[in-house]
Symmetry: C2
Amino acid sequence: MKNQRQVNIKAYRPGNGFILNYQRLVKEAVIPYQYEVLHDRADGAEKSGVIENFKNAAAVLRGEKPSGDFYGMVFQDSDAAKWIEAAAFSLAIFPDEELEKRADELIELIASAQDEDGYLNTRFTISDKDKRWTNLLEGHELYCSGHFMEAAVAYFEATGKRRLLDVMEKNAEHIYEHFIENKHRGFPGHPEVELALLKMYRATGNKHCLELAEHFLDERGSDKDFYKDEAAARDWTVWGNNAEDGYYQQSYAPVREQADAVGHAVRAVYLYTGMADLASVTGDEGLLKACGRLWESIVGRRMYITGGIGSTGIGEAFTVDYDLPNDTAYAESCASVGLMMFASRMLEICPEGKYADIMERAFYNTVLGGMQLDGKKFFYVNPLEVLPGISGCAATHWHDKPERSAWYACACCPPNIARTISSIGKYAYGESEEACYCHLYAAGEVCFDNGMKIKCETEYPYGFKIRYEIIKGGKVLAVRIPEWSEYVKFGKNDEEFSPVMKNGYAYFEGVCEGDIIEIRLDDRGKFVYPSAKIAENTGCVAIERGPLVYCAEAIDNGGDVLSLRADDGSEIVVSEFQPNLLGGTVTLSFGGFRVSGQDSLYSYKKPEETPCGITAVPYYTWGNRGLGEMRVWIGRK
Amino acid sequence: MKNQRQVNIKAYRPGNGFILNYQRLVKEAVIPYQYEVLHDRADGAEKSGVIENFKNAAAVLRGEKPSGDFYGMVFQDSDAAKWIEAAAFSLAIFPDEELEKRADELIELIASAQDEDGYLNTRFTISDKDKRWTNLLEGHELYCSGHFMEAAVAYFEATGKRRLLDVMEKNAEHIYEHFIENKHRGFPGHPEVELALLKMYRATGNKHCLELAEHFLDERGSDKDFYKDEAAARDWTVWGNNAEDGYYQQSYAPVREQADAVGHAVRAVYLYTGMADLASVTGDEGLLKACGRLWESIVGRRMYITGGIGSTGIGEAFTVDYDLPNDTAYAESCASVGLMMFASRMLEICPEGKYADIMERAFYNTVLGGMQLDGKKFFYVNPLEVLPGISGCAATHWHDKPERSAWYACACCPPNIARTISSIGKYAYGESEEACYCHLYAAGEVCFDNGMKIKCETEYPYGFKIRYEIIKGGKVLAVRIPEWSEYVKFGKNDEEFSPVMKNGYAYFEGVCEGDIIEIRLDDRGKFVYPSAKIAENTGCVAIERGPLVYCAEAIDNGGDVLSLRADDGSEIVVSEFQPNLLGGTVTLSFGGFRVSGQDSLYSYKKPEETPCGITAVPYYTWGNRGLGEMRVWIGRK
């Protein structure tokens, strides 16, 4: 296989810095809290019923009477899977016997809930066995299997333990038998199993997994009436999803013919991730071309500056080109996680900086912003403008909460953020036969399979010097240079150096043990101008520094952000690193005006403009200091 | 009664000018077309079933078998009522035997569908007699009665014929018996009957009508659980309206305690109109204060510059303060009609220019804009920004159509616009014991009840000289001077003159036969600045001249409006009157820039700015020249 691949989870050991701090937070705050949630013991969280469901399913399989009905959403099982996956990634970084024991126990519990034929899903095991596989549109059976498969591969990668991998291989064989051998038609309403089957294939070499992934991708959209026919053949529904809307779940056309990112944003990017991964394995040109079109559709016309995707809460979905409202945005945390996955798969096929740039944008802004700095509360929805009294209040803004909430019953985002942070090393580092790749700047040591070993030191995203020490030499070290860096300085062993630059990567060839490579990136704060086609952003600018999008919050700006007008001719002053502010951050200040004197809704009087300074903080830190206005796009003088 | 009152419909005879042209259009295009719609004979319109419903109800009452079931919306009858009302107003201006004959016939048909006990509603007469009055939340029985009452009063006023008035007095007695004598609890889900009962009371002196109006207003919100209890007591629903949401139909609190304009915008302003009218009749201070608060809530915090109200399509409703999105606005034509009614009632209590200013703003912008210039197509929803590809396409913008449609099945707006235009004389002129009032500038002759007779000549809203000739003298002529007019010149008999100014009205005392009063208003085009609290309008300006809000359309601006930036330091050049453009109009041109060079969604490159001229046309004329971008709020340089 000549494509580049993410490194093994154990290849990266984080060093002091921003990433390590976040990974610790996940280990210390998120994983233990979610564990309590799964067991219905967490303060302030809604009941999850997850563990109880597995116990009840196991009881039914043993022929015993369960203690109760299935509880929760139809995809409730996946919470356990995501917890195991996050725990696995965390264990690879921070070995922890107690945590591993808990994970092993949970895996045994899951195994006990697997039917003899390999079927695994508590919703349809506790009751309704006859309804298995009859509602692919809404039933989420393949979705849950997919998450268990991801967890199985992660746990195997982290611990070498095969127990869950075996369970899921058996489950994959059951699915193979049902959909391939017994020719049960259909494909999952929520894509996920495709990308997971490909992970299984890579971990086990089981060709049935590859075949199944390809099968589900080929089936999608091949018969536009499939869900309609499926709905007509059953007498039950989960939510009454419209079986005739092919856009919501991206089944309006065969995947190789799709051109625009449409429908439920999480489904979309999970699907595209699977498509890209299959193209990577099989070299399928048509699939790769479709991935390229869909990528461009997202990042060229349908993505927020924060890497958020999905402009509307109606169906948590993409809408149309250039429709990017700031205040009513959906921009689900999970969708940005999915965008990172899609970007990572595209990178594997083709190491171009444009993919890593978006991966980084989504991570440092929407994904991190989805979590409170203390790891205890979460945003599902990540608006770019919040106005107390409107956000979370008006019917159109109901989903755009002005403050993060504790764990919900529908707990997709928190564990998704947790697993992404814990596995960020896999997104950051990759390798092919020819080179070792640094896609993101993540401090720590990396042992590549090809023998090269490096150590990265950096205070990124607040420091813009990145230092690589070559501990064991190798062929080529390739480091992404972000497009936002309008200049870059390279040094090798204390001398200026000009590496080969190609598609956004600097290629250092023939690196040897002891070599020191230094990169200095553009550390200025900058004004960002929106395309004129984004009507919502007319007359506004945003502010960025490095990978971080900034925002103005009321608390730093006299309680009122709407009356601020940024002077984009002014200099952006970068503060010292402030260790006690927002978990340690750097603020940006610049000149501007505050408009006033408009007492009525509409006035012929030109507003008065009083010069003022404006202070902005990183978007990922917003909403950590109480309720107040927040804006990414600020009025421009 | 010392309050001022609207003049009788026959008091105003339009003279050459803008108003007359519109009234002719209604007579020649709208009324005949709607007549065909009622009879299911109109090309391109959806089936209405209105006439058929009355025939079927009459058949049932005669003990015969109807030709079919009730057809259409639960409030389908009201279409016939609104047509009669529009026809009545039109007949007062343009006598027309054929039209009057058609109206008489329709009235006979309606009378034949009235039950012996006075009940009148085809939905519950054709079938479901046992369901009468059991679903006030959704049933619209009182709403339809209200529209018939309005039609009855208008037809009586215009023709002197009492037939429909008698029918509706009998209906009112039925309602009185049911709700007052038999103590059936409740109040209408859709306010309308309150204002209509007050019209009936003024036309007939029937005190039961006054008592009923007061009763329904007192009942509303007095028992917050009423609709919940009502829903629990029946086993059917029309749309499944949420009986526990007191905001949608303004029943969350007793009306005298309400402070914010909330819920379905048309319901709200119909309710407030009834409240203001009752306060006018009874002098109820608490009610008047509530009206004042609700007025301020609308015009101070929840109204578009176009006089549109209702920020969201979700429930066609008001949302919260300062939430005024331009692209996803609802701003229903009917809601602006209702705002005019509310304004007119407030004026009657208290002749202050601020009410007439809003009435004029709603009329010349949203109400007129709701109708195609040829009178054949209509907007229900009146957005302030339209972007083909987004408007009418994205799920969030589904209701914001970029072009007007032909008559719908739910035909509330077209006849509402028609009756408002035809009766504009009543909004324009009023009288009290002390004075004759000119609230709007409407060319024509007016015979006041108190004997004064005047003739108004003006090219308003395109000419800003208004000339009043006193044909018969009287005590005082009071003319509103709009707040937008930053200067005004008065002349009396060719000499400069300084009338007494009070609350936005110029009072000319002791006017005599032959006196000529001339008023010259501010005729400049002006930039308008939004309150900084309206997040959507940050960095934008609007343009107005006189009562007209202007907008930039693609067709006048090189096909692209989003890239325009207005230079609010430039002069606004007013064109000659262009008789062949958009039914005769004046364009405004001003300087600005076109931004370019932003090929990607987000860029560090400051956009290039190329000087350009920008041309704007009146908002009410937009969308008459094919599909294209439209913006009221234009980016400001």
